[in-house]
């Protein structure tokens, strides 16, 4: 195991995770106003109506597949009767379907972004960077699946990439598991790690605004001043106006 292996398979993932977590907390505190999907639907609707649902649904299936493949040990699945062969066929078929949906959607969205004038003008440099890493992650992942799972003999990543991921989560990193992994998988992992580090600074933050609460809240929201901004401490120099006696009281009292 070389120092490079330690760097790539221990230091880099942990650094990316730290940036991911701290970055999101910082962004949420500093930039709630910038926390949005930045939708471009008002500029162009026809292509978006196909591309966006295809991409988003595809990527959600991909996410579920990765959670099962990486986080659930193979033995657990076998214990509930999902043998290696069944898993392999299921993962390849479902994964390919999800990939087709994702890549098709992403292709439509990128084509739209490039060719629709107003949408292209509204694309920031950060968006473009993000697209490079997102596209690379998806491309390497698809390449690995096609080369090894669809046309190849099948690579059992549940013996290497899966345990390595879990070893990172359990803070007992085992970088040696990754050294023998085929290059396509390695590149996929590295591109994804980089994407995670970039995540909090892109529009991808909207993933964490999935409106689950909408299902449970009453339709009409009432809000009073008490629950709003005033509850938070004001920045220095921007305290609200108050008569002098109140001001001194609040300074002493609180």
């Amino acid at each position: 195991m070389t120092p490079l292996d330690i760097l790539l398979w221990v230091a880099f993932p942990y650094a990316a995770a730290a940036v991911f977590i701290v970055g999101h907390i910082w962004r949420y505190r500093y930039d709630k106003f910038g926390w949005t999907t930045r939708s471009s639907q008002v500029y162009e609707n026809r292509l978006l109506r196909i591309g966006s649902p295809a991409f988003h649904l595809g990527i959600l299936f991909v996410l579920i597949g990765h959670a099962v493949g990486l986080l659930v040990p193979a033995e657990w699945l076998e214990a509930i009767g999902i043998s290696h062969e069944i898993y392999h066929i299921g993962a390849t078929v479902l994964g390919t379907a999800a990939a087709v949906l994702t890549i098709g959607g992403l292709a439509i969205l990128i084509y739209r972004r490039r060719t629709t004038g107003p949408v292209f003008l509204a694309t920031t440099r950060m968006d473009k960077t993000m697209y490079v890493f997102l596209g690379a992650t998806i491309a390497f992942g698809t390449a690995a699946t096609v080369l090894y799972q669809v046309f190849g003999a099948g690579y059992e990543y549940r013996g290497t990439v899966g345990p390595w991921t879990r070893s990172l989560i359990l803070f007992q990193p085992q970088p040696e598991l990754m050294t023998e992994v085929p290059l396509a998988f390695q590149l996929h992992v590295l591109a994804a790690t980089a994407l995670f580090a970039l995540w909090p600074f892109t529009r991808l933050v909207h993933v964490f605004s999935a409106p689950v609460g909408y299902l449970f809240r009453p339709y009409i929201v009432y809000r009073s001043g008490d629950g709003g901004r005033a509850a938070r401490p004001a920045r220095r120099g921007w305290e609200p106006m108050a008569p002098p006696e109140q001001r001194s009281r609040s300074r002493v009292g609180r």
Partner: protein, 576 residues
């Protein structure tokens, strides 16, 4: 019973001259920013006409508002919670910018900087969306004064609901203006549509606002509002809407549109209502009953039991007092001449309208009859089906009876007051024929015709003890492009921490002094300089040299400010 206070508005359409001052002052105050070029919190439509955005009243197409299910419950017309979330990746009923209009500017720079030639230079229109040349084919008020209506008005959704022959002859018949702002509904479907819970109704005064920090740009509110008065800021990616000028209302000032209304046709005031009964009132089966059911939700501010209940809810005494003085209460409940806009959307709108009598008067006067005679007018109201049916399509879900009753009252007032003006006897029978007394008619006349500022706008101020809480509750318009228009945050347009409105205004002002994009970057625009602060760069020529006293002969007058101050060339007057 849960008593709540609602700040609301009534507009007297007979007095609207269609000057668009309200629209322009509102735009200058709130939406003169990039990203909201196409946004008109206040617009004035010529009716019959298709309104703004085009055909917004066609809810079969846009799916705004509520509908009643067979089981008698209300559901969002565009789909409930599950359906909304399933459509979150692409909202199928969102208007595109081209359904409003493509905003543009003109290449003014060409007028000054074109090279010498044989032809007069022309300022071509440039799209504010793409920056390219464009040909202007539509805007917010394209059918003003029925301009082009022979082609467009046939698609007026209200006309389409009327019988065939009406569409052919309406143009000779009548025309009036309809100013529109956000309705600040009691049962707002935009709030119900927001997946993020960012839209809310203020408990204190019922104003509906968008929390810009919580909005995530899902755009469901734009679809949810049947009046299409929530707009998507395409630069910041957030929804914005009319705020009923809440910073002005809080200190007792009327909204900008009301303040600047040339015809003085707007009234502002409080209405007390029972929040517990709103849902039931909005779900009555027959659309024609919605007007009465909404009226039944309002509470009489003079009733001692109501006053006690209001106090128990923490409504301050001066607010109850303001509710008693409210012109809105008088127009809606006492004289019953104001009607809501499209009650059939079931949102319980709170900007009401006094329908115009002028279409009827015009026809009567044109026919050579006496346009101020009560009996002639009454007969005309009964006979003139077209304008009355049209008004009913706007204000009473198609029920002509309340419109006729309202118009009769206005006709009676016209006739009764004519007698007084001519020095004749007061004719009580005219008043009695519309179920009023002469004294009531004179009071109503006073309110409609000559009410002064304080009578038209009865606005209690926000309370000092509430002021700190109310100050800068997350609001629609704290921002434009994050901390100041020029300085976008690190994440592209519009990022960064919260900036108080006052600071934001400072930045906006500063950047406006030096920027008049897109044609002349770096040029000073004096029209935008308010005279405060340092003069814009380039306004005065640079000094001949640093340290040269301005008035060498009189060092005492310039005092310590003379010499090489860092503030640059600045006249002593402007620094005071």
């Amino acid at each position: 019973m849960k008593v709540m206070a609602q700040m609301s508005m009534v507009m007297n359409l007979d007095k609207c001259i269609g000057c668009h001052t309200c629209s322009v002052t509102c735009k200058q105050a709130w939406t003169n920013r990039t990203g909201v070029e196409y946004v008109w919190f206040n617009n004035v439509e010529t009716r019959p006409g298709i309104g703004y955005p085009r055909g917004y009243e066609d809810q079969e197409r846009w799916q705004g508002g509520w509908e009643r299910t067979k089981r008698g419950r209300l559901k969002l017309k565009a789909g409930g919670r599950i359906s909304k979330i399933s459509k979150i990746f692409s909202n199928p009923k969102l208007p595109e910018i081209y359904d409003y209009y493509e905003p543009w500017t003109y290449e003014y720079d060409m007028l000054l900087n074109a090279p010498a030639g044989d032809h007069t230079p022309v300022a071509k229109p440039k799209s504010l969306i793409t920056g390219d040349d464009m040909s202007i084919s539509w805007s917010a008020n394209w059918d003003d004064n029925l301009g082009g209506s022979t082609e467009t008005a046939a698609s007026d959704p209200v006309l389409q609901h009327m019988s065939e022959h009406v569409a052919m002859e309406f143009e000779q018949t009548f025309m009036f203006y309809l100013p529109r702002i956000c309705e600040h509904c009691l049962n707002p479907s935009c709030v119900a549509s927001c997946p993020s819970g960012a839209m809310y109704k203020r408990v204190e005064d019922g104003i509906v606002l968008v929390d810009q920090d919580a909005c995530r740009g899902w755009r469901m509110c734009v679809t949810g509002c049947p009046y299409k008065k929530v707009y998507f800021n395409h630069k910041t990616g957030k929804a914005e809407k009319c705020t009923l000028c809440y910073p002005r209302i809080e200190v007792g000032l009327p909204t900008v549109c009301s303040e600047t209304c040339v015809g003085r046709l707007r009234y502002l005031g409080l209405v007390l209502y029972d929040a517990d009964r709103v849902a039931a009132a909005a779900s009555v089966e027959n659309e024609h009953d919605l007007l009465e059911s909404q009226r039944s939700v309002f509470l009489d501010p003079h009733d001692p039991a109501i006053i006690a209940a209001a106090r128990a809810e923490g409504i301050p005494d001066d607010w109850i007092d303001a509710a008693q003085q409210s012109p809105i209460w008088r127009l809606i409940q006492q004289y019953r001449v104001a009607l809501p806009l499209h009650p059939e959307y079931r949102t319980m709108p709170m900007v009401w309208y006094i329908p115009p009598l002028s279409p009827v008067v015009d026809v009567v006067a044109d026919s050579g009859a006496d346009g101020e005679d009560a009996r002639t007018l009454f007969a005309a109201i009964d006979r003139l089906r077209i304008p009355v049916e049209y008004l009913a399509g706007l204000f009473t879900a198609g029920d002509v009876q309340p419109v006729q009753a309202t118009l009769r009252k206005l006709a009676a007032m016209r006739s009764y007051m004519r007698d007084i003006n001519l020095g004749d006897e007061r004719n009580e029978s005219i008043a009695a024929s519309v179920g009023m007394t002469g004294a009531e008619i004179e009071e109503m006349y006073r309110l409609l015709a000559i009410a002064k500022y304080e009578e038209r706008y009865v606005i209690p101020t926000a309370h000092v003890e509430q002021a700190e809480a109310l100050e800068e509750i997350a609001c629609s318009l704290d921002y434009d492009g994050g901390p100041g228009m020029g300085g976008a945050g690190p994440f592209g347009s519009s990022s960064g921490p919260q900036v108080p409105v006052a600071v934001e205004n400072f930045h906006v002002l500063q950047s406006r002094q030096t920027a008049d994009r897109p044609s002349t970057p770096g040029r000073v625009n004096l029209l935008n300089w308010d005279g405060l602060g340092d003069p814009p760069e380039g306004l005065f020529p640079p000094r001949s040299g640093p340290g040269t006293p301005e008035a060498p002969g009189n060092p005492a007058a310039s005092g310590s400010t003379s010499g090489s101050g860092p503030s640059g060339p600045r006249s002593p007057e402007s620094s005071s």
